[in-house]
């Protein structure tokens, strides 16, 4: 097949300063990717599906507290620890810079789940099931995964594929941030975020709005962290997995006054 397709390297920037912890991304992801409904049972069994989750941490002692939010999703690492341990190559890094999971290939050894430092891989302990009235709302572009396999965030690869088909194959141009925006193509979480805390773009695209952050963090590694000009950092940077997601630090204008705790 002859196409104009150019290799992309998709990435995301998460601005923690803008994140309000509203969980809209979580709901959007759940709806887009045909995730089973996280019932109370699932949470009690500790087997909830959270391809993206908002981790909430408390700072300070009650009543002088602040909530901190951090959305954690698959980091699509360049040097992913989950990839080399899969005995059947069910997970690998594709040309788009995505860490992808082949559901048909997966045996279910769960080694990748063990080896993920971010704990963003999920095992289907049960056959996914939806109430009868919800079966018609399933996304036809996304597979329904069987029991006994590992699944995870795909950066909504189905949306990227649709965008590529339209832009690169139909109009013969390169897919970039503007075209993504114009076509309303972005991962569901990014699209749903009310505060634009999540930014999605192509790391290979020099014009991309996420590019400066990646340039900065790539230029100054963990040992030169203080020389960075942006607020960017990577999650668990010290283990050198080189994620495709950059977090921007929260700048707290009103930090907790430590002395007030003891009043």
């Amino acid at each position: 097949m002859v196409t104009n397709r150019i290799d992309h390297k998709w990435g995301m920037v998460v601005d923690l300063d803008k994140c309000t912890g509203c969980q809209a991304c979580v709901v959007a992801c759940q709806a887009e990717n045909n995730l089973p409904i996280n019932t109370k049972d699932f949470f009690l069994q500790k087997r909830a599906y959270e391809w993206i989750r908002i981790e909430r941490y408390w700072e300070g002692e009650y009543p002088n507290v602040k909530a901190r939010f951090i959305p954690v999703l698959c980091q699509h690492c360049e040097n992913a620890p989950c990839e080399p341990v899969c005995p059947v190559y069910a997970t690998y890094r594709n040309d788009d810079g995505l860490n992808v999971q082949i559901y048909n290939r997966c045996v279910g050894t769960r080694y990748c789940i063990n080896n993920c430092p971010y704990q963003v891989r999920f095992f289907n302990f049960w056959q996914p099931n939806w109430p009868e009235r919800l079966k018609n709302q399933l996304n036809p572009d996304v597979t329904i995964r069987t029991r006994g396999i590992t699944e995870k965030c795909t950066f909504c690869v189905q949306r990227l594929r649709r965008a590529e088909l339209q832009v690169e194959r139909v109009s013969g141009e390169r897919l970039n941030d503007e075209k993504l925006k114009a076509g309303n193509y972005a991962p569901a979480c990014t699209q749903a975020c009310p505060t634009n805390a999540l930014m999605f773009g192509d790391q290979n695209d020099a014009e991309s709005k996420i590019r400066p952050y990646f340039d900065d963090v790539n230029t100054f590694d963990i040992h030169h962290e203080e020389e960075r000009t942006t607020r960017g950092y990577r999650l668990l940077e010290e283990i050198n997995t080189r994620p495709s997601i950059i977090y921007l630090k929260k700048v707290d204008q009103y930090p907790l006054n430590e002395d007030e705790d003891h009043v």
Partner: protein
């Protein structure tokens, strides 16, 4: 100098073939009970495959639980075979003779059991063919050779093949004896298995040569199998306390520790149920006990070093898991039980000769070691996965449920059943080896010294 009275070849044949030529009354009921447990587990596995792994206690992030613990445990038990037959054969330890066959057979059966554990543990076992079988079934994708999970089956299958060959070669002269003692269909089957053994010097030479060669070839496998199993954990970057370079020797020594203890226990049981008092003697158990003191102490050194290495790095995540292992109830309780039962109780007992020669104490010590070694694997695997890292949202505990319990219990029943069935058709104490030992024990008195009358030809 060996203990006990001298035995004639006829007597040896009669005693050691007793388990084969007449069935004890308890035999089939016991096998039946064991088979029922195995069947119950098979049904549980069926239900588990049908409904998903949700019926177990596994969760996220503790996705490896009792099954993998049990897998490592049985791989450990399998290390007794080579330790006892290959190493002791090359070292010419006389007291190894009655123990070799039981050890090798235990190796084979525990390897088969161990191999079944990861398959049961996977979510879609029927797809494990992509994993185990080196062939590009779909779209030119071969198994991923970068992962320890592919090194594992390679090492285990190599070990299984070589141990099976080892047992078969050692069995040929005994098959010939059985062929001469049976009639009818069994006679024909044993004739086939004996492969025309006549006991002429050339055949003996070939048999001994192949035994020695296989012993030497199997030694690298002995070291590599459990090293590779340990790399399942050692190669994992994300699970704290797993990512350690000391795991390979630590696991190998631990495997020998639990394996040899298991063999001692099996020997004591065999001695009791088949009345082989003249063959499995106190001196043999005594010698194995002395060997175990050395092995156990070596293992204890690695255990302490592993903890020290972990703490030495002073990583917060690592320290958190160590704290979980040693100070937080209930895992700290299990750790205490594991250290005491693996090292302090058995070694304290083995240090006295009276205890080493008391079969009750020996069997209790050996059971204690194996309880401890099972817990050791649990303490290594599960707290490492409980993930006490910086992301507190993924902290989790693990409580096994009934399906895991029954499957674990069934692995023990399965190995016991296979051993019993094996003892029904093949001699579990090597006849020819005992006869050779009897031949070598002839002694003469020169002055005040007693020396062996014959020297082994080297």
């Amino acid at each position: 100098m060996q203990e006990g009275r001298p035995l004639s070849p006829t007597e040896i044949n009669r005693d050691l073939l007793r388990s084969i030529l007449d069935t004890p009354r308890w035999f089939w009921p016991v096998v039946g009970i064991l088979a029922t447990i195995v069947l119950a587990a098979a049904i549980t596995i069926g239900i588990m495959i049908n409904s998903g792994l949700g019926i177990t206690g596994l969760n996220r992030p503790v996705v490896w639980g009792f099954f993998i613990t049990n897998f490592v445990f049985w791989i450990g038990i399998s290390h007794a075979g080579v330790m006892l037959s290959a190493i002791l054969r090359l070292a010419k330890a006389e007291w190894r003779r009655p123990a070799t066959r039981a050890a090798e057979v235990l190796t084979i059966f525990s390897l088969i059991t161990a191999l079944s554990m990861p398959i049961i543990h996977t979510g879609r076992p029927w797809r494990a063919i992509y994993w185990f079988f080196p062939y590009d079934f779909a779209r030119g994708i071969w198994p991923n050779v970068r992962t320890p999970l592919v090194w594992d089956p390679s090492a285990i299958f190599t070990y299984l093949t070589s141990s099976t060959l080892f047992v078969l070669i050692a069995l040929i002269p005994d098959f010939a004896v059985l062929r001469d003692h049976t009639t009818g269909l069994t006679h024909r089957i044993y004739s086939l298995l004996a492969m025309g053994w006549e006991g002429n010097p050339r055949q003996w030479k070939m048999q001994i040569l192949s035994g020695v060669l296989l012993s030497a070839l199997i030694l690298p496998v002995f070291v590599s199998v459990h090293s590779i199993v340990s790399w399942d954990f050692g190669m994992a970057v994300a699970a704290k306390t797993w990512h350690s370079s000391i795991f390979a020797p630590y696991f190998v020594v631990g495997a020998v520790h639990s394996g040899v203890s298991a063999v001692v226990f099996v020997l004591i049981i065999l001695r009791y149920i088949y009345g082989w008092q003249a063959y499995i003697r106190h001196e043999h158990v005594d010698a194995l006990g002395r060997l175990l003191i050395v092995v156990a102490t070596g293992w204890f050194y690695f255990f302490v070093m592993e903890v020290i290495f972990g703490i030495y790095g002073r990583e917060a995540d690592e320290i958190a898991v160590r704290e979980l292992q040693f100070f937080i109830w209930p895992i700290s309780g299990w750790t205490l039980v594991f250290v005491i039962t693996t090292y302090f109780i058995p070694v304290a007992l083995w240090l006295t000769k009276a205890a080493r020669r008391n079969l009750w104490i020996m069997s209790l010590a050996c059971i204690s070691v194996n309880i401890g070694m099972w817990l050791e694997r649990y303490i290594i695997i599960v707290p490492g996965l409980m993930n006490r890292g910086v992301f507190t949202f993924t902290w989790n505990d693990y409580v096994p449920r009934f399906p895991e319990m029954i499957i674990i219990a069934a692995t023990f029943a399965f190995v016991s059943m296979l051993l019993l069935l094996f003892s029904r058709v093949f001699p579990l104490v090597p006849l020819y080896d005992i006869k050779e030992g009897e031949f070598l024990r002839t002694e003469v008195k020169i002055g005040r010294r007693v020396v062996p009358a014959t020297f082994r030809e080297d």
